[in-house]
Symmetry: C2
Subunit: 520 residues, 2 copies
């Protein structure tokens, strides 16, 4: 037990408030020394581009990661241990980098009790260059939150987005997430959770599945068959042993020796005994070779033996495009073996590992966290702006709100960013291209069936004021949002561009700030 | 404190022994029911391909992740909580999936106390299709270890390998790791650690840097300049405030407004005051635009102002190829601005984030964990084999050892896999291609300067018998191994293929097993 306790302490150090970048703390001390630390500030989390996997790209993203992030924020504390770590860091002249007075003050601040957080709830569709999470807090606290917020929310959205695409490709076929062995360390926990938010049906990860209240799934690996081959018979004996222990959960991996010549025939022999005993065999899993072809051939064999209702689980380097291709090939080959295409496609289940858990093709989400406003001496919000080299990357300044406009069919046609105090019930509603002045649309009541605010108040001055924990709600939100998303935007390859627009007051604020800074 | 304790308990559940795949536990119960659970078994960790980033690929990999994995293994326990989680899982017929007798027995096993582990130490160069970690334990324990072993060791090797390439591209220039914000959740902790093993000089991640005894590094972000622009002056005031607080650590981010027209001139003004006060300015950071061109132009301005000894830190989507290209461009442009190329290249520092922390281009390491032998009723090792559809993927069976052969120049020329009891001091030494029978080499003493076993006994029946904790040793091992690696194998693009060979006794064992299984 003492060893275990030691391990826990270490975890708290690396996963607590010091799970952050060094420069957040140098900036914190600077704000403390210059008297700016307590100034209320607003920061926004947004992403600049949808994941681009090289040969294909996403037309939307799925928000995720909020509940684990809020959990982290509530428990991260600037305690004596954190102060001790910072107190030991040296400056270039050999003295202490962080002063004792600053560290004492940080201990008095303690953590993130001063934070208010608005966010688009987990599971919802979100779009580039819109504020999907907004933090208001004393400057030093809002700044210190950056690294962990980005870490939690970027990665989760990345995997939820990938999973949503995989689930779309599966066209109603079950998707099992089992990427733990290639996921990035304990990031694998968030990968499983995010994949479930993105629409995966189950995960193989036991711990997080339990925590989320979704049963973990899995059967056996090649090693079990190998062990029997080495010392206790062969594949048939391995399958029979599995069926004896799990008569009502019998899903057999059939490719350890030879799928069609050994695995499927042996599975059928075992299934026949199960059936005779009153049990219903679950199915087989294929993990190598030409999965589409082997699925069709295996299905023909299973059907001939009277097991047409068994599942065929496919795995091995699957992602959305591979699943799409496999389904096409199956549809083409199935009739040649006398199989009904719909029945054949309907029995397929997809086990998706590495490529979903690491977002293969684009393993990082382009999310940023930018200061957008800070209160001046009079208490008024002063917009912050970054005049970078590229006008396209110019963040929208000031306190803002985010809305989604639905057309007369109930389909989302634009996300609209407005200034904080704007009333979007006015008609006609003018919405403008964020980068190209003069490009825009004017929408009247006939074109708008609904307009909805997307940001919800989640944390108010450190107190959680919205329900966060239920992953089932997040899964329902995703499904509902996809139903209301244009099919062109959902396309797996070369998707149609979703419109993100701004209002005229926001455009004018941005232009006046640029002019003001250029004039200096 | 009570909230914090609750959070810790939750972490132990998801990061403890249930940080695993469901099928490990169904197999465990099967081994228990069939009386195989206590059989001594050997499993090997190997990887099938070097990371391939699409336009470039690695010719070697760097072993990493061993210390965190062993730490996990020592603290993961099958306790009442774990038994409760499994006890709640349902079978297809609605009954308990796991029997109470099995769960009681698992509690009595407790954890990984029966494991012996041999591994190639962290930091060492490793090659594909060689056993880089070997587990010997009772079958149920060796099997249960799979998911976490692969998770820990695959990801760490992936990032250490990427970092090693980035460090090679930097040609002696410092590399700072700061990928936390785009890393995969708490996997970011392992990313930083692995990047340091791979040769990165420092990390921005505060917690893990402290734990490893390497000081974290960082300066300030754009937000600090934006805050001053909004309410307390502008870029110059921000820089001056930073210099006042950090006179001996003054590294300024100069691209918030305009690098050459605002950032660098303002930095120079602040540096002049520092210099007058007896301090040495550290340098500037460029984070957008044409980094190579801006570095040259900034250097010319800094030199003209008498700050030729300041660093220029480059960041923004860097990886090994971008660094290589930037250095080429700098070497080409520097003379046009009257700059010495070597001095110019020598002042560059590379801040590398997302692309190193996520191994952009190939975010998962192709590592597998395979049963290779199990003791039969007589106590003899029986080799296990998987006769898959592809002969190239056929794992080498049985208890084995791994050796590295150095030629007369002291350069590594082959990693050789032998059977467990072989004496490799015999000369001449015949080594064979693992896939193509008849292809091989015969080495005599004149060709061999040294032959070294690569696997070290790390854990003996649950007790750690080798030092694991010192990252500095791992960093030295990497540097020493790279010095002894052919430069062609180290090439960043299209590297020369390193030889992995087997001995004749191992070839004969493999062939006899295939024949035996085909004969059945």
């Amino acid at each position: 037990m003492s060893l275990r306790a030691a391990s826990t302490v270490r975890r708290v150090l690396t996963t607590g408030i010091l799970f952050t970048d060094h420069y957040q703390l140098t900036m914190a001390q600077l704000y403390y020394r210059t008297g700016l630390a307590d100034r209320p500030a607003r920061f926004e989390h947004s992403f600049r581009a949808y994941p681009d996997y090289g040969t294909h790209q996403a037309g939307y993203a799925i928000a995720a990661g909020l509940a684990p992030f809020v959990d982290w924020m509530q428990h991260a504390a600037f305690d004596d241990e954190a102060a001790g770590v910072l107190g030991a860091l040296r400056s270039g002249d050999g003295g202490a980098l962080f002063g004792g007075d600053f560290l004492d003050w940080m201990r008095s601040v303690g953590g993130f009790g001063g934070v208010s957080l608005w966010a688009v709830p987990e599971g919802r569709v979100v779009h580039r260059n819109t504020p999907i999470a907004v933090v208001e807090a004393p400057l030093v606290v809002a700044q210190l939150l950056e690294s962990s917020l980005l870490n939690h929310l970027n990665y989760a959205a990345l995997i939820a987005t990938k999973a949503s695409r995989v689930v779309e490709a599966a066209h109603g076929g079950s998707v099992l997430e089992f990427g733990l062995r290639r996921a990035h360390g304990f990031g694998g926990i968030g990968a499983s959770r995010s994949a479930l938010i993105g629409g995966a049906d189950f995960s193989s990860n036991v711990g997080i599945s339990h925590e989320l209240g979704i049963p973990s799934k899995g059967t056996h690996g090649h090693s079990m068959v190998q062990v029997f081959m080495a010392i206790a018979g062969g594949e048939l004996e391995a399958f029979q042993a599995y069926a004896d222990v799990y008569p009502d959960d019998c899903l057999l991996l059939v490719d350890t020796i030879n799928t069609l010549e050994s695995g499927v025939p042996n599975a059928i022999r075992v299934f026949e005994k199960l059936k005779a005993g009153g049990h219903r065999p679950v199915g087989i899993r294929l993990d190598s070779g030409d999965l589409a072809h082997l699925a069709v051939r295996s299905a023909a064999m299973l059907n001939a033996a009277g097991f047409a209702d068994t599942s065929i689980v496919l795995s091995s380097q699957l992602d959305e495009l591979t699943i799409w291709q496999i389904r096409n090939q199956v549809a083409e080959e199935a009739p040649r073996y006398g199989l009904d295409v719909d029945q054949m496609l309907g029995r397929l289940v997809y086990g998706v590992g590495s490529r979903m858990a690491t977002s293969d093709g684009d393993p990082s989400f382009d999310g940023v966290y930018k200061a957008v406003a800070i209160r001046d001496d009079t208490g008024a919000w002063k917009p912050a702006i970054k005049i970078s080299d590229s006008p396209d990357k110019l963040a929208l300044p000031g306190v803002k709100s985010l809305w989604r406009v639905y057309d007369e069919r109930g389909i989302a046609i634009a996300d609209v960013i407005a200034t904080g105090d704007e009333d979007l019930s006015r008609r006609p509603l003018e919405i403008l291209h964020p980068m190209r002045p003069g490009v825009g649309r004017i929408l009247d009541d006939a074109r708008i069936s609904a307009i909805e605010p997307l940001l919800a108040l989640i944390v108010e001055r450190g107190r959680v004021v919205a329900g966060l924990g239920d992953i089932h709600e997040a899964r329902r939100r995703r499904a509902a949002d996809l139903d209301r998303l244009d099919t062109g935007v959902r396309r797996l390859v070369n998707p149609h561009t979703y419109h993100v627009s701004i209002t005229r007051p926001l455009l004018e604020l941005k232009q006046s700030l640029i002019e003001e800074h250029r004039a200096r």
